[in-house]
């Protein structure tokens, strides 16, 4: 619990206004305590490794009391920076801020999440979109907390892309296109 608060605090410091305490996921992803991460399954080289984003649309983390009420979908794309998935992936791969084991662990967890999202889009997943978003947020926090000290620029860029990344993951058409793009690579 203290660990999670520490990460939240640290990430909030780096990301600035990007994260509010209310956006912290309520629980960890399904990881049995004391168990190993070994879950034999097929490799999925076709899926790229986009990272996580914080939830801005499903929770009211910014009060904005004096502005007129807006529609839910409007702020997602307006003013959003262009998303360079391949560039981010390459920078994550190349960064010296994260060690080999840590990178591979993160990659495993991202692939697990992508598989869960794929199942969700195919209508056979047990998790709801909200739960997937929580997992996504938590993974983003992990990545940002690892990057913030030694590669703050990448942390900042990743954080700036989080909403756009989630929009791709949450949209079945965009997600399928991304998966196909990854396979083509």
């Amino acid at each position: 619990m203290a660990w999670r608060h520490a990460i939240t605090l640290a990430v909030s410091l780096v990301v600035g206004a990007g994260l509010a305490p209310g956006t912290v996921p309520a629980r960890r992803p399904a990881q049995a305590a004391g168990s190993t991460a070994e879950r034999p399954r097929a490799n999925r080289p076709g899926l790229p490794s986009p990272m996580m984003a914080t939830d801005r649309t499903t929770k009211t983390d910014s009060p904005a009391p004096k502005t007129a009420p807006k529609t839910q979908s409007a702020p997602e794309t307006i003013g959003a920076p262009a998303l360079d998935l391949a560039g981010l992936e390459k920078r994550l791969r190349d960064t010296k801020a994260i060690g080999v084991f840590t990178k591979l662990t993160l990659k495993n967890q991202v692939e697990d999440l992508l598989e869960q999202i794929k199942s969700f889009h195919e209508g056979r997943g047990g998790a709801t979109l909200g739960e997937l978003r929580e997992r996504y947020n938590l993974l983003m926090l992990k990545v940002l907390s690892l990057l913030q000290r030694d590669d703050p620029r990448l942390a900042r860029d990743l954080s700036a892309s989080r909403e756009a990344l989630w929009n791709i993951l949450a949209d079945p058409v965009k997600f399928a296109r991304m998966a196909r793009g990854g396979e083509a690579r």
Partner: protein, 84 residues
């Protein structure tokens, strides 16, 4: 001749020191890497204080809190952390 010998001894010492420094830095980065990998699995450790390399990508990590883990990459390409 004596001066030449002194210089070569000094050079040897400096290279040894630099080599030791490099090894120490490598060791520190491995410890940090394993600390993060263990934490990402949600396992208690605190901080890895000692590392024994068993093979390529296969380590025994001793944690500050007394836990010991084998951390390795399995044939499926997944990082496995096994409590020892």
């Amino acid at each position: 001749m004596s001066a030449y010998r002194s210089v070569s001894v000094l050079a040897s010492c400096i290279s040894l020191l630099l080599a030791a420094q490099t090894v120490a830095a490598d060791d520190a980065s491995v410890r940090r890497d394993l600390t993060s990998a263990i934490a990402l699995q949600g396992l208690p450790c605190g901080e890895v204080v000692n590392v024994i390399r068993q093979a390529e990508n296969d380590y025994i990590a001793s944690c500050k809190d007394g836990n010991r883990y084998r951390v390795f990459i399995n044939p499926q390409g997944r990082v496995v952390v096994q409590k020892q």
